[in-house]
Symmetry: C2
Subunit: 595 residues, 2 copies
């Protein structure tokens, strides 16, 4: 298996040259101490630990997997030590609240650390990032007492966190959960029920696992309005912070999965476990939603990350593998064959990956910027960014993972037969990233969230704001020489998206299935339009002289943008045509015909 090498240069280009992160950070009090130098130092340290410590454990973890023995979960060899080093490096508290030992780093930056972490090893990464997610929910909704008691040890990676939502009969539809919470006299609750698919539900990395559990009080209203959120530690914590007795929390079994074998996916049994309410009774889903925007972006980044690794490795392979001759005649005259990178079709596979990965990275940082402004900014900018976060989150989750999966499959294809063999590493990337299209809300659910809740529900207000922003950008970039070839397709894409949006909203007025029928294709049109926007922004950075990455880098950016425009963006035409066919072809078919 090849080594992973963090794409620091492209990260710096996106952060500094495209999005001018330093100026943004210094304009917000909470992040004003973060400057370019600090950001670059963090990226470099992150590269070191991920390349040197985390990536090398990926393949062995894939092969060994997690063990379950009479309720005790053991991670693969080397994982506890590596996690300890990760924790000691402070990587678990990057975006944490400063009162409890967190570092308040902007998401724009933290997500690049996450990219490296997942590129190195998705399974290992999950233990850390889900802890950050749980900590975020606790920080946003729990009492000061709970925060004080739990957050410092979560930020420091002494304990990990887990989210317990799904039950075997209730995944997408959380309103149907059956886990019960019975109030005790002392203010705590007795939690009982079984949760499935709990990532990091139990393991041997740390001495405690802090579960956030959705459950219903005995008298709770039916459906999703009767769900409350509880903090349930694996081991109870004494008032002085030391560990007390075991709680009624047990791992009944672990799942055997397609991939992320080193991640413990647990069935968790709560048997009169002591739990503490987080936030208000019956408003547990709201507590979860706070962190959902972060988690969904984080899952999206898993797609980007796997695709980056696949891209990088398949480039290396294509340069080294000698086979046949270039169509234009021998290149490598002294050898028996040319490297396969001379072939147009191999380049198609590499450039598709490159164009999607680089736009994906820019898009992730763009969404991170919106998260930062919505959290640390103020006034109109803050409100506007919050709207963008709502709109863009489902796109980030689904489009980054759909394109991430596509990228890994292409990378695997470049390897030919070797791509199918485990020791070469490519098949693991495909298997590991596949889950990202499914968990944290399937990509179909994301599409319905986008088209239904984020576009139709507010008559496309946020979408109009986004289209307006892109049009403003296009106008401002018009004067930069050489931009026309990128601005014309961008403007066309925006016009198309606007008219598609009107079409679907029009249909939805009389057809309850219109939203669902359009959803998946619409999300992909939005994704391609946003990637076109990212490419145009990257080209402007290059053409206006903002890039400090040298001429070869600049040339490659423009060429990759051109490839995107000519060979990938046309897919919006097919998607748009499909959307405009309405819902009839989907809904007319009788249920019995599905055989």
């Amino acid at each position: 298996m090849p080594e992973y090498k963090a794409p620091l240069r492209d990260m710096q280009f996106v952060l500094h040259d495209v999005f001018k992160a330093e100026a943004l950070w210094q304009g917000m009090p909470a992040t004003e101490e973060v400057n370019r130098e600090l950001a670059d130092a963090i990226l470099e340290e992150s590269a070191k630990i991920n390349e040197g410590l985390i990536a090398p454990l990926s393949q062995s973890g894939h092969e060994e997997g997690v063990h379950w023995n009479e309720g005790v979960v053991t991670t693969p060899k080397g994982y506890p030590e590596a996690f300890r080093q990760l924790a000691e490096g402070g990587w678990g508290g990057l975006s944490g609240a400063p009162e409890y030992g967190g570092q308040t780093m902007p998401k724009m930056l933290v997500l690049l650390f996450e990219e490296m972490l997942y590129s190195s090893n998705i399974a290992m990464g999950l233990y850390l990032t889900l802890t950050s997610g749980a900590a975020l929910a606790i920080d946003s909704h729990a009492s000061d007492e709970l925060k004080q008691k739990y957050l410092p040890n979560m930020y420091s990676g002494k304990w990990t966190g887990a989210m317990c939502l799904t039950e075997s009969h209730a995944g997408t539809d959380l309103g149907m959960i059956r886990t019960k919470a019975v109030p005790n006299a002392n203010g705590s609750y007795d939690i009982s029920g079984t949760k499935i698919f709990i990532t990091g539900g139990d393991h041997d990395l740390t001495e405690n696992v802090i579960h956030l559990v959705l459950a219903k009080l005995p008298d709770a209203p039916a459906g999703s309005k009767g769900i409350s959120l509880f903090l349930v530690p694996k081991v109870k914590v004494n008032d002085d912070g030391s560990l007390g007795e075991a709680n009624g929390v047990h791992c009944g079994s672990i799942e055997h999965k397609m991939g992320i074998n080193a991640s413990a996916t647990c069935v968790m049994n709560f048997d009169n476990a002591e739990g503490y309410l987080v936030g208000e009774i019956n408003r547990g889903l709201q507590g979860m939603f706070t962190m959902m925007n972060y988690e969904r972006l984080s899952v999206g980044i898993q797609g980007l990350s796997a695709a980056q690794t696949a891209y990088q490795w398949s480039c290396e392979y294509a340069r080294e593998r000698l086979q046949s001759r270039a169509p234009t005649g021998p290149v490598n005259k002294d050898a028996a064959a040319d490297p396969i990178i001379v072939h147009p079709d191999v380049r198609r596979m590499l450039l598709t990956q490159k164009a999607l990965v680089e736009a994906g990275r820019a898009f992730a940082v763009y969404v991170g910027k919106q998260l930062d402004v919505s959290k640390f900014g103020d006034g109109e900018a803050k409100a506007r960014a919050a709207g963008m976060v709502e709109l863009l989150t489902p796109v980030a989750k689904a489009f980054l993972t759909d394109k991430g999966f596509e990228g890994t499959v292409l990378g695997q294809q470049v390897y030919g037969g070797h791509g199918y063999i485990r020791e070469w590493g490519m098949e693991q990337l495909v298997r590991d990233v596949r889950i990202a299209q499914i968990y944290e809300g399937t990509n179909g659910i994301q599409a319905m969230d986008l088209m239904g809740r984020k576009v139709a529900a507010n008559r496309a207000q946020n979408m109009q704001a986004l289209l307006g922003e892109i049009r403003d950008f296009a106008q401002s970039a018009d004067s930069v020489a050489g931009m026309e070839e990128f601005l014309t397709p961008l403007r066309d894409a925006v016009d198309n998206l606007e008219s598609l949006t009107e079409y679907v909203l029009g249909e939805a007025a009389s057809d309850a299935n219109a939203i669902g029928a359009a959803a998946n294709d619409y999300l992909h049109v939005v994704g391609f339009t946003l990637y076109m926007y990212m490419w145009a922004m990257m080209c402007r950075a290059v053409l206006s002289g903002d890039s400090q990455q040298g001429e070869a880098f600049a040339t490659a950016k423009l060429q990759t943008a051109r490839y995107f425009v000519q060979r990938l963006l046309p897919q919006t035409a097919a998607l748009s045509q499909s959307i405009r066919s309405g819902s009839a072809s989907l809904m007319d078919v009788a249920e019995d015909a599905f055989v």
Copy 2:
């Protein structure tokens, strides 16, 4: 894991109602004894053995895998017994030559058996179908003596066959192989070298394995013109047909792969093994090419098969899984939720699978028909069919497997989280079918074969014949009421394909990279156009009253065709636009920029 149920009704519809197989068979002396009754009986028996015996071993084989221990290869529990039953049922000799115990069944029919076999268990299927492939090469090129000695036991499944082409440094580029063949005084050859990725190279299913090995004589010309083909048995065969001493053939190790875990993928070491020339010296690749058209269709069918199983299982799941409510209001009022099949986006995933699988099956049978006519027909029809086989084979291999992979991924997605868990069976389908896009010539190689050797090399003569045939069909179907909605998109697709072909040939005149740059997208346009043709033929069978499958079946066919036209066929627009952008965006990028 759900059970597999063979789609007999759709198979009969395609064979009898669409392609009028009986009339075709009875018009050719070699197959004149095959009638509808016999064909249906074979399909039914095939369904029984595959559903009852082969499919149930799929998951256990996936979990257990193949074992290698000091050179001895052992297949998973139950495999040797099941293979024996398959062999005893005569399924190995279906398309074999009658002189040696084969049954000379038409490929149109045999491929439906193959579909069921692979739908049940690709890994198990390979042991049988590769034996048929090897037997075909022997039958076409070997001496009568070799045929007599080896074919009966291969048809009867007493022995299996394996193809030994690839070496670690020579996959696509077979001209670079290093395996040596040194002539002995007695007319045999000493074969020495190492072959990799040998499917069924060794195992415990049968007492002997007959290898077909590509090797070079000491004085052979360089490159692909110096390759000869040898029959090399694992155990030497005495003149009386009994087994003699062991040959110098050893399995050095087996590969650990992404999927088809129950198929032994072997590194085979030939150490002065006794081998016998098949065909002429230095014309070994021609010997291999004879069976290539059959093998490539067979690999294509693996794509179809896995997608069929995924489709079937995901329909069941979508009907049973209760989650949320229909957009139009509760359907399943007495339960807590509706089955997810009520959702437009779930239907999108199911209908995409259905539309691709049913067109894929018709297309496979259509190619089978061309193979049959090119083998058993005569005169102009035979020559014409041979041209079609050349043209269509790369499309069958690549498009069926690309769409097959897409189908399994969609089926897995319908399952949500359960799709990622091994015990549910869906992830195995994705993993097993992935290899079909890679082996037997990667799909990129198929695309270049199509665009280069099969279209450009003869100035699109066969392509023009195909387009002419489709136009003739459209004209003849014009009079059938209700056909217009299918014939209009078909005619548009044909016009588009014709003009794209002209465009690429034009570019190729001055650009050596034009073929490769267009190849993949071109193959997909051809695939979509052929699927449109298949849908139009199926709709004609329905609308002209040729179908005997009842009203509900007929309605579903028309609706699925409509779905294909409205929601999938538009992809040709994007592909065509991409092709028309030429090779510059691929070739301008410097090699160093691929980082």
